[in-house]
Symmetry: C2
Subunit: 349 residues, 2 copies
């Protein structure tokens, strides 16, 4: 008989074709998501062809054609950043919405290494007529809505932490996560971090691609497109990792644990309530948010001398931009940006 | 870049200690669950000691002490049987209930090989005062509520398909599934199929163990134990494997697929409705139910010429014992035996 040993963790299939898998984020105790447990998010099957370099074209004075070696030989930068799919926790919206049914696992974290996109744009020389920077992947080439491409406003393109990355946690990117090159846009939802990046195009008009103009918008109404707004910056958010919703606990002491993250400023505090928001207790943060502003923070709070009964554990995070998780997430038709106070209901016996 | 290939499937962690993992049952196309994708259900950590044989004791004329080799050298019998945890789909009860939060994956299927329990009981010679047969595991030895043990009525103990099994799908049992010996009680919920079986005890009084008298009962009321009934036979049930609840489909043809199973008689028919039960369409069964009465049946129904809109796909199974899945599952405090009509809501674009 085997002695008890740590349980093996795996990704979970969310859709079969294309491959979408969630990360067992609740069970991972490392601050950095192990490579094999990263969530996978695809709009198409994996590309059949290979990207062998990067072009910088469009409204630039001097178009560039760079090999991957060119890019890897330049001064590198590393950034720790959470990566969260805009549809993470979509299944929690009420009324329910249609789409890839992500529960809590469309989020992971890594240290990314690459070259600031800014360095490449400055070398190419942006024309004064430039308006946006379109980042083209090769997934979905030849398909109606493809290839996958997203534009960034000039400001975010020129931000020193926006990277053309070639490494994740110190290893070259894997095919599933965009090898050889992908964009990393810290602080934004993950649709901006284009994988299998092959071309950077500076454009003078608003980009009209499907994933830019139709998908990845907050549509506040069920039957009209009125008031649609693009999905960009991560909302302030938290997850209770332990205890699990609707689990049964023993009396005594329990350490409530979780994660908190934001795309604006950094996490300022995390609070826990066990009486449906009447009292809030400050959680202890295990990382100093300013050390890695785009990273998630692990937090914990000691729940002492627990007595039999039913409880709701709530967590809410606040960031230095003055934002705090709401009690109810803003409903939107495509189910993006869920960030209501996280709830875990438990019975103590 | 990798060409597209079949997606790798994994088990999913449901609780960490003890180890409970669900099977990706929705995504498995084989009729038999591959060994590595079997769900794991534990009440305790894995036993540290090893079972080295089986005792048959109590109200018998001639107590037996059998080695595993003894048992494996006897005439063997194989039975294909679904194994479903009584708490499977517990998360679908409304109002919600507390307990291990199983979604759809606490079910798997294998061919089991072993010796009929009846053969051993007949060899030992059951006394006329006998009332039940208690099957003792060794998991939880020394704990308050342990070790895990369950009693069977004499009738089910003497049923020729109730096995002391040593092999699953032609291979010796793995440590996680009860090696070297486990009980297999076809047609009953899985709590009856005691793992790490070490002792068979014929008793003359009703067995009072925790997992027999308190746990694994249907408690119809939230705050009283009135009307409690033991969990035994599998309810008639079905699962829609494809399409996934709240997914988005393209127009055209789709093959609705699923599983159906029962513990009484065999599956008689499976029906699918796409108009909230107004019309029901007969699904095609891929196995002949009488060939393997304890097995699940794979079914499919061709949904033709699908037009844009929102639909609810419902499936319901009926068995030859005259039972049919209800529209609403019978609520019970511990969340056992969920078997409402299975629903998958989709949006067609």
């Amino acid at each position: 008989m085997k002695p008890s040993r740590p349980q093996q963790l795996f990704r979970k299939t969310v859709t079969m074709q294309p491959e979408n898998q969630s990360s067992p984020v609740r069970w991972i105790t490392d601050w950095m998501t192990p490579d094999g447990l990263w969530y996978r998010r695809n709009h198409y099957n994996y590309p059949a062809s290979k990207v062998d370099g990067l072009q910088v074209v469009g409204a630039v004075r001097c178009p560039l054609t760079l090999s991957c070696e060119d890019i890897r030989s330049r001064p590198a930068k590393s950034v720790v950043s959470v990566m969260e799919c805009a549809g993470n926790r979509r299944t929690l919206f009420r009324p329910r919405v249609y789409g890839v049914p992500w529960n809590e696992g469309a989020i992971s974290q890594a240290e990314w290494t690459g070259v600031p996109l800014r360095d490449l744009l400055q070398e190419a020389g942006i024309c004064s007529t430039a308006r946006e920077v379109v980042c083209w992947g090769i997934d979905g080439e030849g398909k109606d809505k493809g290839p996958f491409a997203r534009s960034l406003p000039l400001g975010k393109s020129l931000h020193p932490d926006t990277l053309v990355a070639y490494a994740q946690n110190g290893r070259l990117l894997s095919p599933e996560h965009g090898a050889p090159l992908r964009l990393i846009v810290p602080g934004w939802y993950a649709m901006a971090s284009v994988k299998w990046l092959s071309r950077i195009e500076v454009v003078t008009e608003q980009f009209q691609g499907y994933y830019q103009k139709e998908d990845y918008h907050y549509y506040p109404f069920p039957h009209s497109d009125e008031g649609k707004r693009p999905v960009t910056v991560l909302r302030v958010n938290s997850l209770i990792r332990y205890p699990h919703d609707f689990s049964v606990l023993k009396t005594g002491h329990h350490r409530v644990e979780g994660l908190a993250w934001t795309g604006k400023g950094v996490i300022r505090r995390v609070e826990v309530s066990v009486d449906r928001g009447e009292h809030w207790h400050r959680a202890r943060l295990q990382q100093r948010p300013w050390d890695h502003p785009y990273a998630w923070v692990q937090w914990s709070w000691n729940w002492k001398d627990l007595q039999p009964g039913k409880y709701e554990i709530w967590s809410r995070a606040a960031d230095t931009a003055g934002r705090m998780q709401p009690l109810r997430a803003k409903w939107n038709r495509k189910g993006y940006g869920y960030n209501a106070v996280c709830r875990s209901r438990v019975q103590v016996e």
